[in-house]
Amino acid sequence: MIELSDIRKVFNSGKPNEFVAIDGITLSVERDKVVVLKGPSGSGKTTLLSVIGCMTRPTSGRITLSGKEITSLPERFLTEIRRKSFGFVFQQFNLIKGITAMENVILPAYPTGEGFPDLKKRALSLLELFDLSARPITKVEWLSGGEAQRVSIARALVNDPSVIIADEPTAHLDTKLSKDFMEIIGKLKVRRKTIIIASHDPIVYESAAVDRVLEMRDGRILSRATRQ
């Protein structure tokens, strides 16, 4: 579904602090599978996620999404594709403080111009899915860690994307919540979502829901371990 061909990303090109984040990345991610990028910090996991998720353009190489090449699309088309196809769960949750859980969930859908009643309905059903029905009008600062995490996952799903990208999702969670998270991932896989996670947490990469683990070091993929 997603094909990366010889992807290379360089930051601060030409300047003294030039830095090659990832290099020679060639991989294909199958539909409805869970892939984990494993590796220490600085290995380029986050950059690879950014490139896959159309958040930044690779310095060289090609990306195709469902057969269509997207590497050189102009910003606004790229943003639209990103909005429609990808949902992001960030390490720090990155919820907007001071507004309600529901507003946070529908925020990615605002630019689509969809009518508010539809958005509200979708948000409420998502919140229900994640056991947050009691919380739509709560401001996010008042949510517990687990609730905030589930709100951020709900937000990632509001545009019904086919791919979920998560960057170190369990970094700030305890064991129980981490396990809960992987359970949700399993459920999402059943709902036909492709999931790519970057993590160095064993609870993540040793989870039964995971189909493939890719080890990364110094911007390159080392091994490809596949699991049933």
């Binding site: 986050t46 720090q92 507003e103 605002y110």
Partner: protein, 377 residues
């Protein structure tokens, strides 16, 4: 439809965003509204008075001739009037008898004028509303006056001038000629000044010129000069108005500066998140636009509406301390409402536009950041 929806969605977020910092933004709206209110109130007040003067004083005497002695106003000899009548082009010339009277008990100044208004007879006067209010005098009341020699006389109030006419008559005491002369000690050979009317209005300046030449100790004032006095009366260069204007400008600059001096790290972070979850640069700019527009439009409209109510329904009550000064007799400013759309539009462009721009411009750079920075927040 979806474009409209999109803007509404973004507006929703902007409003949530503004409500987060409720106190700060409320204070901003209050200050902004006050600025617009002050400026608009001054505008409405001065415009209304100028308009009224322009209409009402069209009927002033065409030329008023004063006499100056040793640099001060002095009484005009009545035979000057005969001289003036003889000038070609003069239709009529009449002496005017008027002066000021200070009432020590009330501390008020009246303008006393000799007139043939109905109700004015020997022993009876017609007074303006302001006089009536100040000394609590009604019809049939007897009002004492002090003569020039210290003795006292009194007059009966036969009528009170209408309250609609306050702007021209509030402090008037209309009195008969004999009473005036007796009270002020002015002999029959003198009048206060002369009111002159011309056959042909276009010859006014020529006649005024002639009067000045023939009677060098006089000072003719034409109606044109009277009208222009009121056109220029509340010149922005005048003391208090300049203070209000400068104050408003400075306050506004401070408001806009706060916005224009850039985004806080919190705001930058938020824009990063928005871009990360799928907002485009144009969406972020739209949000910033709404942020400025919501505050500006609310404050501007509130300010104008409140200013209108203040000037035309509350008689400019807030200006009273400044306008009243040391006067005891103070007219009720029931002004004729007058709105000039051009001036409102100017005020709009001088406040709403700069403020909205100063909200958008500093956000421009932040709005264009790469979405992947959200990964590193």
């Amino acid at each position: 439809m979806s474009r409209f929806n999109k803007q509404r969605n973004i507006l929703d977020f902007t409003l949530s965003s503004l409500l987060r910092r409720r106190t700060k933004n409320s204070a901003l709206v209050i200050v902004y509204t006050l600025i617009v209110f002050s400026l608009a109130s001054v505008l409405f007040f001065t415009q209304a008075i100028k308009k009224e003067a322009c209409i009402v004083l069209q009927n002033s005497p065409e030329i008023i001739v004063q006499r100056i002695v040793a640099g001060r106003h002095d009484l005009l000899p009545a035979d000057y009037i005969d001289t003036i009548r003889a000038i070609t082009g003069v239709q009529s010339a009449k002496g005017r008898l008027w002066g000021y009277y200070f009432e020590p008990a009330a501390g008020a100044n009246y303008t006393l004028m000799v007139s043939e208004e109905p109700g004015v007879e020997v022993g009876r006067i017609v007074i303006g509303q302001g006089v009536s209010r100040t000394i609590h005098a009604n019809r049939a009341d007897i009002v004492p006056f002090r003569r020039y020699d210290g003795s006292y006389t009194s007059f009966e109030v036969s009528d009170i001038l209408s309250s609609e006419s306050e702007l021209v008559s509030s402090d008037l005491v209309l009195i008969s000629e004999s009473d005036f002369r007796e009270m002020m000690g002015i002999r029959g050979e003198y009048v206060t000044d002369a009111a002159v009317y011309a056959k042909n209005k276009r010859e006014l300046f020529m006649i005024a010129d002639k009067i000045k030449r023939i009677l060098p100790d006089t000072r003719p004032i034409t109606k044109d000069e009277i009208l222009r006095t009121y056109e220029a009366i509340f010149d922005w260069r005048g003391g208090i108005l300049l203070v209000i204007l400068s104050g408003a400008v400075i306050a506004f600059v401070i408001l806009a500066w706060d916005k224009a001096s850039g985004l806080s790290s919190d705001e930058r972070r938020e824009i990063g998140i928005l871009k990360g979850i799928g907002w485009e640069t144009s969406d972020v700019i739209a949000m910033k636009f709404w942020e400025g527009a919501v505050l500006s439009l609310s404050s501007f409209s509130l300010g104008i509406i409140l200013a209108y109510i203040h000037v035309f329904f509350a008689s400019s009550a807030l200006f009273e301390p400044a306008l009243k000064g040391w006067s005891v007799l103070y007219p009720e400013f029931r002004l004729v409402p007058h709105m000039d759309p051009l001036q409102i539009a100017t005020l709009f462009f001088l406040t709403v536009v700069p403020y909205t721009v100063s909200t958008i411009v500093p956000s421009w750079r932040a709005a264009t950041i790469d979405p992947d920075t959200v990964m590193r927040l």
